[in-house]
């Protein structure tokens, strides 16, 4: 079995090899260029182009696999060129692949040129990604360029270089096209410092981190590549690690076994699938195929939606009609007014209050259910009269956007705009568009490399990602005042840009591609929209209802004990400091339970005329930035520890109010009339 530490010596058997040309070739001490790739990618032709007549072919020791070696010259510099057997993956199945991998590891080439068939790049890119992970000094050669051109395929090699972080050359080895560029890169070769690094599932990344920390020896492959091959249960690598890491081998094995247990599919399958997905994304960003050039109305509209110059106006129109008019006006005003004033105001609340007054004589119990903050008069009223119509219309609008296929186009547009200004769209977009809480996002921060990054990312998540329903409720409050809505939107957009900027700085090495499969545009299907809306509304109410009821109970206890008024008195200080009426302190107290509960509190104040104009928009902004909900806070404690969680909350609390104070001061000094 070949060693992965020392350079092997290639023996040439007498009589089994054959020489090209009459000279004996001396290749000792020369820089090595290895040609790798799948079969039928033109490696032999390329080998001949680089070496001319001077080459030897012989069997690799102990195998029947032929390996060609030769000497090439580029300008005045000589190289040893090795034509490796065809390989599809660094995880070998055939003897050819085993020899190819061993050659790469034993010979330690100074340059690795991977030849791929330019027409079939997507199929061959997974090997490129593996070679990059292995830390090999790569050049990607897209060979058979003439055939790709004949088929009408266009390849943006510059874009590919950006995506992969290595030189990419388009060649036709049979005609010599592209050879000069390839040779230039061989002369200039150096190890890529910006090579693409794929991120796998969070748990796999976490396991890789552990394995890497347990590998003490040095290897020809990067430790990350070794870790991945261990997770993929490469027998040769496993045996090697057993020999080289006797102290840690059992722990490494345990990590592999534990990781596998978390998934139904094999890790090998999951890792390969992730690479294939990445390859698909890279190809979609850098290649166009003739079938893509269509001129149907839907295709034209689709392209317009994704180009920033036309996409942004389309997005604004969708947001205006879909969110502002449908959710903000119809949902938050028409429907809410009807439910609040007619259903609850004229019928339900008076009826239930009368019922309790008649049959429940114990006043505290009356207060619990039908008091100012009662379970029925506040908790249930908020949930049904206020939250349900706003969130319901919001989910309808969102489901339509999703069902038409516009959602991935919107995400791609935002990502493109982010990338143009050097930000990281991938970190932000799923959080904005997803309905999940930032709780889960906090867990994903465990994959960040340094503690500093993890803490800062956790902080960002706690500070500024509002849940979508909270956004819907706040939008409902601000509708009717376009300028107030604009100020709030600008503040939110500023926050998202800040997060994008900070994550781009803090998380280097993230993939530059944000690949999404773009489905065809279609008319929304009514039953799909209704099913999605119902599912979301049901989920939302299962989450929110119990919390609203618990909040009413907690406030009731607070009122009985007098603690409620004391807390309100304390909260009144920062609230009035930022120019809000004292009564707004209640909304912020609600915000501790859930942010949308706090938003509902603001809504009530707006309806009663207590909050309007500048104080309304200041309170909306401050509440958006406010402390994380209880669920996210508890996850932060689990992931980062009590001290960090408290530090985050204690920072955010004054920070949110400072921003509110500044906004209030700026709006007043500018004489803004809202």
């Amino acid at each position: 079995m070949s060693s992965l530490f020392k350079r092997g010596r290639h023996r040439q058997r007498k009589g089994s090899g054959h020489h090209h040309g009459a000279k004996t070739i001396s290749i000792t001490g020369l820089d090595k260029v290895a040609l790798v790739g799948s079969p039928n990618t033109g490696k032999s032709v390329m080998f001949h182009n680089l070496t001319g007549a001077y080459a030897t072919v012989s069997n690799y020791p102990g195998t029947t696999v032929e390996v060609s070696r030769g000497k090439g010259r580029i300008r005045q510099k000589e190289f040893e060129v090795i034509d490796t057997p065809g390989m599809y993956s660094l995880l070998p199945i055939t003897e050819d692949e085993r020899v190819a991998r061993t050659l790469l590891l034993e010979e330690k080439p100074d340059v690795v040129i991977q030849l791929v068939d330019a027409k079939n790049l997507e199929r061959m890119l997974p090997l490129t990604l593996q070679l990059l992970e292995a830390g090999l000094p790569m050049i990607l050669d897209l060979n058979m360029g003439d055939e790709a051109e004949k088929l009408g395929i266009t390849i943006d090699t510059k874009r590919l270089e950006e995506e992969l972080g290595i030189p990419v050359v388009l060649t036709t080895a049979t005609t010599g096209q592209g050879m000069k560029t390839l040779e230039e890169h061989v002369i200039k070769h150096s190890k890529a410092t910006n090579a693409l690094r794929i991120k796998y599932h969070a748990y796999i990344e976490s396991s890789l981190e552990t394995i890497i920390s347990l590998l003490q020896s040095d290897y020809q492959l990067s430790k990350r590549a070794i870790g991945l091959l261990l997770l993929q249960e490469d027998q040769e690598i496993t045996n090697l690690i057993q020999t080289q890491e006797p102290e840690n081998f059992s722990r490494i094995k345990a990590v592999v076994a534990e990781t596998q247990q978390r998934y139904t599919h094999s890790l090998n399958y999951l890792i390969n699938r992730r690479r294939q997905w990445e390859a698909k994304g890279i190809v979609s960003n850098s290649m166009t195929f003739p079938s893509e050039v269509q001129s149907t109305f839907r295709e034209k509209l689709s392209r317009l939606m994704m180009k920033p110059i036309t996409g942004i106006p389309i997005l604004l129109l969708v947001l205006y009609f879909g969110l502002y008019q449908f959710v903000g006006v119809f949902g938050a005003q028409t429907l809410v007014d009807f439910l609040e004033e007619v259903v609850f105001g004229e019928y339900f609340n008076p009826f239930i209050t009368e019922l309790f007054s008649t049959y429940v004589s114990y006043i505290p119990l009356q207060e619990l259910f039908v008091g100012e903050y009662g379970i029925i008069t506040l908790g249930i009223r908020y949930a049904i009269a206020l939250i349900l119509p706003i969130v319901g219309t919001f989910f309808i609008a969102f489901s339509i956007i999703e069902d038409t296929g516009y959602l991935p186009r919107m995400a791609l547009l935002i990502d493109r705009v982010f990338k143009k200004i050097g930000l990281n769209g991938r970190a932000v977009i799923p959080m904005i568009l997803g309905f999940g809480c930032s709780t889960m996002a906090t867990i994903v921060t465990r994959t960040l490399e340094t503690r500093r990054e993890r803490v800062i990312a956790t902080f960002l998540l706690a500070l500024a990602i509002p849940c979508s329903a909270q956004m819907g409720v706040l939008l409902g409050i601000l509708t009717g005042n376009p300028l107030a809505t604009l100020i709030w939107v600008i503040t939110l957009v500023g926050i998202f840009l800040l997060i994008g900027f900070l994550t781009a700085r803090l998380m280097p090495g993230d993939s530059p591609s944000f690949y999404m499969e773009i489905p065809p545009l279609r008319m929304p299907n009514l039953s799909n929209v209704l099913i999605k809306t119902y599912t979301r509304v049901e989920w939302y109410f299962k989450e929110v209802f119990p919390i609203f009821i618990v909040a009413s109970i907690v406030i009731w206890i607070g009122q009985i004990t007098g603690l409620f008024d004391q807390v309100l008195n304390i909260l009144a200080y920062p609230v009035t400091w930022i120019g809000l009426p004292r009564e707004a302190a209640v909304a912020f107290l609600f915000g501790f339970f859930r942010r949308d509960y706090g938003a509902a509190g603001l809504y009530d104040l707006q309806q009663s005329g207590v909050l309007s104009g500048i104080p309304l928009v200041v309170s909306a902004v401050t509440l958006t930035l406010f402390v994380p909900c209880i669920a996210q806070f508890s996850v932060t404690i689990k992931e980062r520890g009590v001290k960090t969680a408290l530090a985050v909350a204690l920072f955010i609390f004054p920070f949110a109010f400072i921003v509110g104070f500044l906004l209030n001061a700026i709006l007043i000094s500018l004489g803004v009339q809202l």
């Binding site: 992730r274 499969e517 119902y534």
Partner: protein, 58 residues
Amino acid sequence: MKCALCGYQFDKEESDATCTGCPLFKGCSMVRCPNCGYEEPADSTVIKILKQWRNPKK
């Protein structure tokens, strides 16, 4: 299932594997895409029953 945002196809076990560290995991009905992190609620029981009623053979 297919992510509504990025189109990545995955199954529930793969989604669950990325969430098992969360203290809300057992009570959470969200399905998270392992590729991009986009979350959606899982099909509700009512919807499953309705679908079953409409297509009893499936």
